[in-house]
């Protein structure tokens, strides 16, 4: 069963991160690294990426066949900062992994099932 672990950021989390000492930050990076390693070793990793700051984002609008873009950042209280895509036995296992993400301390980590291609007869 595949799950996406979505890591959101908000102002509170960003401020906290900036107030961290070097040691605290290393601890945060290390938590992500060890999660990454464990997922690789257990054969449960599908993909993991951190996203650049939303100031680097472009919103794409197609209107009457022409494409226009707006540069970020956009007015939003939360933004997606990173994603783990994992393939695990059940949702409990996914939550167990999600709980190891430092951002979970701010309640900003979300576990979401991925839609599969197989389906029952209707």
């Amino acid at each position: 069963m595949k799950y996406a672990i979505l890591i959101n950021h908000n102002k509170e989390a960003r401020d906290a991160w900036q107030s961290f000492s070097a040691a605290q930050r290393s601890e945060g990076y290390a938590a992500h690294q060890s999660l990454h390693d464990d997922l690789e070793n257990s054969g449960e990793m599908v993909a993991a990426e951190a996203l650049a700051d939303p100031s680097n984002a472009k919103r794409v609008l197609v209107s009457a066949g022409s494409v226009s873009t707006t540069d970020g950042p956009f007015d939003q209280s939360e933004h997606l900062a990173g994603i783990y895509l994992i393939d695990v036995e059940n949702v409990e296992r996914a939550v167990e992994y999600a709980a190891r993400i430092p951002e979970a301390a701010f309640g900003l980590v979300e576990v979401r099932p991925v839609l599969g291609a197989s389906g029952a007869d209707m």
């Binding site: 595949k2 690789e40 070793n41 257990s42 054969g43 449960e44 990793m45 599908v46 993909a47 393939d87 695990v88 036995e89 099932p113 991925v114 839609l115 599969g116 291609a117 197989s118 389906g119 029952a120 007869d121 209707m122």
Partner: protein, 403 residues
Amino acid sequence: MITARDIEDLLRELAPRVLAVLARQHGDFGACEDAVQEALLAAALQWPQEGVPANPQGWLTTVAYRRRTEVQRSELARRRREHTAALLEPPTGDTTPPDRDDTLTLLMLCCHPSLTRSSQVALTLRAVGGLTTGEIARAFLVPESTIGQRITRAKARIKASGAEFQPPPQDQIPARMAAVMEVLYLIFNEGYTASSGSDLHRVELTAEAIRLTRQLHQRLPEDGEAAGLLALMLLTDARRPGRTGPDGALVPLAEQDRSRWDAKAIAEGLSLVTSTLARHTIGPYQLQAAIAAVHDEAPSAAETDWPQILGLYDLLDAMAPGPMVTLGRAVALAMVHGPQEGLRHLAEVDHDPALADHHRLLAVRAHLLELAGDHQAAREQYALAARRTLSTPEQRYLNSRTS
């Protein structure tokens, strides 16, 4: 003229036998399994060029054995130990036919209780199915390294558990066989997608599950549930050509063009289920196969023998109750006694935590409301079900019912 496809089929047929010979003689299942994979790879490269050897199984066994010895030798060298003479002795009996139970032993080892389901699935497909790690990874849409790691870990766990290449103790066999069948059914269901495009680079998991279940049935002709599982897969897979519309959307059973169903698979499934029900102790797979058979036998949806399906669900409910049985039975009740009766039954069970808010419950309720003529309520339930489902084709189908 032998084609690459013939060679592939032959290799995959021989893979578990070669592994059995090697593992029985040398122990260390994990290392033997690696060696067999390398021998299969060598054969896949050489045979199309040089032709299939006169004794393909002997060829594979010899190559795998050499590879196994080389690895063992370098391991020993690393530990600065002397080579043992025993290692250099060629394997005996590489041309004798293996015991008929070898594939079973292999299946039961791959479904060892110390492994997670997904590891059992991956290991079964590689060690018994003869698939490569890359093929398994593509079938499950995950990176190759992920499946590789899963298999490595699974083999390490089997080793740590002390399990050997031999049948488990008698008292553990029923549980192990149940796990084997569950794994095979899981592989089947994983492959039972609505996609109509034939991706040549993706292994058909349904076909692979059927192939392995057929092997299981051949080795255990007296096991009613193995026959039942094979029949269930055949009777379900037979409907696949009618299951997807030209636009790729899921077509519900009642609206499928039955002339597109696979008559040969249906005939085989029917004959299996008929003979097993007559001869063996009845079990859940046989009952599910019997239900599939009633659907497949009906010339049209309207001519479906719903009273018979309801009777089968009653038996299934008594023998192996579960949320999906409850829902199937509710549909059968509705078809026999009217949609209100089905809805009443759903109302009785919708507090069950396994069912509450489950998208299948919502979808069934929507369907029954539709049959009862309450279109507004049906649309609402379809919309809810579409939001709750975890399957893309189901979501698309359920959304289509809301308009």
